[in-house]
């Protein structure tokens, strides 16, 4: 085995990403106080129970919404189908915690729905007849509507590539449409659906904002609380173990399904364009209604609530320093995208030129950062930096480097890097797989150096991938809350932290303005990329 710079750089990236995992486990072997010893089993049971119920609720809801919408827009023509095709992915712009604010404000006692009913029907005691979506139900709904997009996009892509031949077989066998759906289309798309659902499941388990807002104690909030407030590291360890088992399991399933899903991409020549079935009359409107309902609930509803508040309390709009928030957000996006793209290129290119198995293992390992909840990642990072500084740096009398890494833009970028590296790495990887290796060889034959091949051949080929990844990172960073909140420098706010801070003062009305900006900016970026995301 040749040790060259590719190995070293790939190894270093994996190491950086592995830090939180090691820290989560190693720091938990210390002894703890535990004044609440007697309640531990109750807590553990409650956290696991809540996490499972939340997971089941969200998975069922996202499976239904995601596949039904994907099925309708892929196989049928009905009024508005071309609009819904991309409108449904706008739900990605609404983070679960902001959905949670809207849901609560709309249905609470004397909330927005109450006002609407009062204005329509006159005075009355409507509070008791208005359903209350809070606690677990609220969390399930908020998370489902902000995440169903994963199932929708992946399932739709797999439907899209399903060869017409496959469907014709069904028809030739005399299958009804229903039987074709359940016996052919869905089984063939199973890997894509499972991949979408495992992404949803991972994000659900990582969620902090929405569950904390609704007071639902899950494994993630449990770890956070026992780690930070109760100083009960042993218990936090126990909980982390359960959470990581859950999450790594999902991660594994997702990766496996992704691989399987590739088998279903048909070779070019045999791809026969699907004939969409036109739905007329009642059926057509029903399909439109279903899609509209999903679009409405996932996007129009939260954004209307925010608009309503912004119009009702316009002073909140003028008092907010939107320019500064915008510049801060852009600054983070620019730095993080640059670093992420640079390193993703480095390790993908390294993998390509060295064709080493070991290097591949390193890279696979380095994308696991995505599986760790942001809030735990941030705390683990601080703990690690502190430990490293206190032991190693101190040992060599090198002064202290904490200030450089905690409460600085650098620190933020590093943790974003760990969290979103898989997004960038996988994106570049997919792009690279499409470039035939013989192109590299021709380039070498022409006397191009490796660097020149990279700069003049690969980069132009991968332009679209770079663009897409840049925008996906942008959307994630605009929405990111827990890491930014814990690690940001002095006097530094983003739209997400501002919305959170207003919300925690019980001023959801004022949180509406930054939330609205956040959603609108993210939506703009989603629209720009919609043609890539939808792979038409």
């Amino acid at each position: 085995m040749k040790i060259n710079s590719w190995y070293i750089s790939s190894f270093l990236i994996s190491l950086v990403v592995a830090i939180p995992i090691f820290t989560v486990f190693s720091s938990f072997f210390e002894n703890t106080s535990g004044s609440l010893e007697i309640f531990k089993n109750t807590f553990l049971y409650e956290y696991i129970y809540n996490s499972i119920i939340l997971l089941i609720g969200v998975l069922i809801l996202t499976l239904l919404i995601g596949t039904i919408c994907a099925y309708l827009v892929s196989f049928y023509n009905f009024p508005g189908v071309n609009f819904f095709k991309w409108a449904l992915i706008l739900s990605f712009a609404v983070p679960a915690y902001i959905y949670a604010y809207s849901l609560t404000a709309f249905f609470e006692n004397y909330g927005t729905l109450y006002s609407i009913l009062k204005n329509l029907l006159g005075e009355g005691n409507y509070n008791q007849s208005i359903p209350k979506f809070d606690g677990m139900i609220g969390a399930v709904i908020s998370i489902s509507f902000s995440l169903f997009g994963y199932v929708y996009v992946l399932t739709r892509a797999s439907f899209h590539y399903q060869s017409e031949n496959l469907i014709e077989i069904g028809r030739n066998l005399g299958f009804t449409k229903k039987k074709t759906l359940f016996s052919i289309i869905l089984p063939a798309s199973r890997p894509a659906i499972v991949a979408g659902l495992s992404l949803v499941a991972m994000e659900t388990l990582s969620d902090f904002g929405a569950v904390a807002f609704f007071g639902v104690s899950t494994l993630t909030t449990g770890i956070y609380n026992s780690w930070i407030s109760l100083d009960d590291l042993a218990f936090a360890n126990q909980l982390s173990f359960f959470l990581l088992v859950f999450i790594l399991g999902l991660f594994f399933i997702e990766n496996l399904s992704r691989k399987q899903a590739q088998y279903h991409t048909p070779a070019r020549g045999r791809f026969k364009k699907k004939e969409k079935i036109s739905l007329h009359g009642f059926k057509g409107y029903l399909a439109s209604l279903v899609c509209f309902l999903v679009f409405f609930l996932s996007f129009v509803f939260p954004i209307s609530q925010m608009f309503y508040w912004t119009l009702k309390f316009p002073e909140n709009l003028t008092s907010l320093n939107t320019n500064e928030l915008f510049i801060n957000t852009l600054y983070l996006i620019f730095l993080t995208s640059l670093v992420l793209l640079l390193f993703s290129f480095l390790s993908n290119y390294g993998n390509r030129v060295s064709r080493s198995k070991l290097l591949n293992i390193f890279s696979t390992f380095s994308i696991t950062g995505y599986a760790i909840p942001g809030i735990i990642l941030a705390v683990a990072y601080i703990t690690f930096i502190s430990w490293f500084d206190n032991t190693i740096i101190n040992h060599f009398n090198l002064g202290s480097f904490k200030k450089i890494f905690i409460g600085s833009t650098l620190g933020l970028v590093i943790v974003y890097f760990i969290r979103f590296y898989s997004l960038a790495f996988n994106g570049i990887k997919t792009g690279y797989e499409k470039i035939n290796r013989s192109i590299d060889e021709s380039s070498y034959l022409l006397g191009y150096s490796k660097l020149k091949t990279f700069l003049e051949i690969h980069i132009p080929y991968l332009k679209n991938s770079i663009f897409l990844i840049g925008i996906l990172i942008t959307i994630e960073i605009i929405k990111e809350l827990p890491i930014t909140l814990i690690l940001r420098p002095f006097n530094f706010e983003t739209f997400a932290t501002t919305a959170y801070i207003f919300a925690s003062q019980d001023l959801l009305e004022a949180a509406a303005v930054p939330a609205l900006f956040l959603i609108l900016i993210a939506s703009t970026f989603i629209l720009i990329t919609s043609r890539y995301i939808l792979e038409d």
Binding site: S35, N225, I228, I486, F492, I501
Partner: protein, 337 residues
């Protein structure tokens, strides 16, 4: 040229040293306006990181001696006490002026209250009769006539933990456990939502009594939550319990001096500024808390705006931390969600 360089260096050194860094878990926008005023008056720049209480504490603890923070601001004495017990605050040698302004039960050696709030009872005048309100104490909330009529938020909430800590101090553990068990049976629903949601539940007829902090009610009356909530608040009335004995449960928002504060004198200046009449007026009119200074009257919208209620001036708020884990244990044992 040399003069210019010296001047430049002077400006640089000045602009570097004249600052104060705040970690704040009490993030009111109005606080930022106050800091701006402070900078205008003193030339000392104020830098702020705000966030969740626990996460900020974790960051400060891990940054340790490299932490550039000077002041830690948060609401609830229980939180300040918790942080002090971790050794993250330092003795501040409060000036005589501060000692005179802030009663000893509202400060420790390393933190000081800057505003007060009361945790009181809100009732529906339609469904609660005057005789039930007579001599109502926190202790009476365990009585059977309140069965299924009370709303209060969860036990993980610090305001509730501090209230129960105070009850432990005044009535002992055993009595408080009995009290908490009965209170749980008196609850109208499983605890959920924040303090405002409890007041709204009474307005909407879900319950007859709510326990909540005073400023939430003023916030609703202010119209910042819209016309409906303003009207809803009017359907509910505040009641100050324990008027014939120790007085109503009081708590504070406070500022602590961080252990490794690099700008200690500026930090103390800022805390003194927060306790000036000007700042106290600003605070009462924006956050609807009570002033720490006796001569500043509360905002018109706040319950007890004439300060004609008896405050508990005997129970030291430092005890809220001392009894905190016991309080949480009692609440959990009582089945308080």
């Amino acid at each position: 040229m040399r003069k210019l360089i010296i001047l430049f260096l002077f400006i640089c050194s000045n602009s570097i040293s004249a600052e104060v860094n705040i970690f704040s878990a009490r993030h009111y926008d109005s606080d930022l306006e106050l800091y701006k005023k402070f900078t205008e008056q003193t030339g000392i720049k104020v830098n702020v990181v705000s966030g969740n209480d626990k996460a900020l504490q974790k960051r400060i603890i891990e940054e340790d001696k490299d932490c550039v923070g000077d002041i830690y601001i948060t609401s609830d004495a229980g939180r300040l006490g918790a942080f002090e017990s971790k050794g993250m605050l330092q003795h501040a040698n409060w000036s005589d002026e501060i000692k005179k302004k802030v009663p000893i039960i509202f400060r420790s050696d390393s933190w000081v209250g800057i505003a007060k709030r009361a945790r009181i009872i809100f009732y529906s005048p339609e469904r609660v009769n005057q005789s039930e309100l007579q001599n109502l104490n926190y202790e009476s909330l365990s009585e059977p006539n309140w069965k299924g009529r009370i709303v209060i938020r969860k036990s993980d909430n610090i305001y509730n933990q501090s209230l129960v800590s105070s009850l432990i101090e005044n009535n002992g553990k055993d009595e408080t456990l009995k009290w908490a068990k009965s209170l749980v049976t008196n609850m109208a629903r499983s605890p959920k939502g924040n303090d405002r949601a409890q007041i709204l539940a009474v307005a909407a007829g879900e319950a007859d009594l709510a326990i909540a902090n005073t400023y939430y009610y003023a916030l609703m009356l202010s119209g910042q939550k819209g016309e409906e909530q303003k009207n809803a608040a009017k359907k509910v009335l505040p009641f100050f319990p324990n008027q014939n004995n120790r007085g109503t449960h009081m708590n504070i928002s406070g500022a602590g001096l961080l252990k490794f504060s690099p700008n200690k004198s500026n930090a103390v200046k800022l805390i003194e500024f927060l306790l000036s009449e000007e700042s106290q007026k600003h605070i009462v009119n924006n956050t609807y808390e009570y002033a720490m200074l006796e001569n500043i009257s509360p905002n018109e919208l706040v319950p007890g705006k004439d300060l004609d209620f008896k405050q508990d001036n005997e129970t030291d708020v430092k005890l809220y931390w001392d009894n905190q884990s016991e309080a949480l244990k009692i609440m959990l044992l009582a089945g308080w969600k």
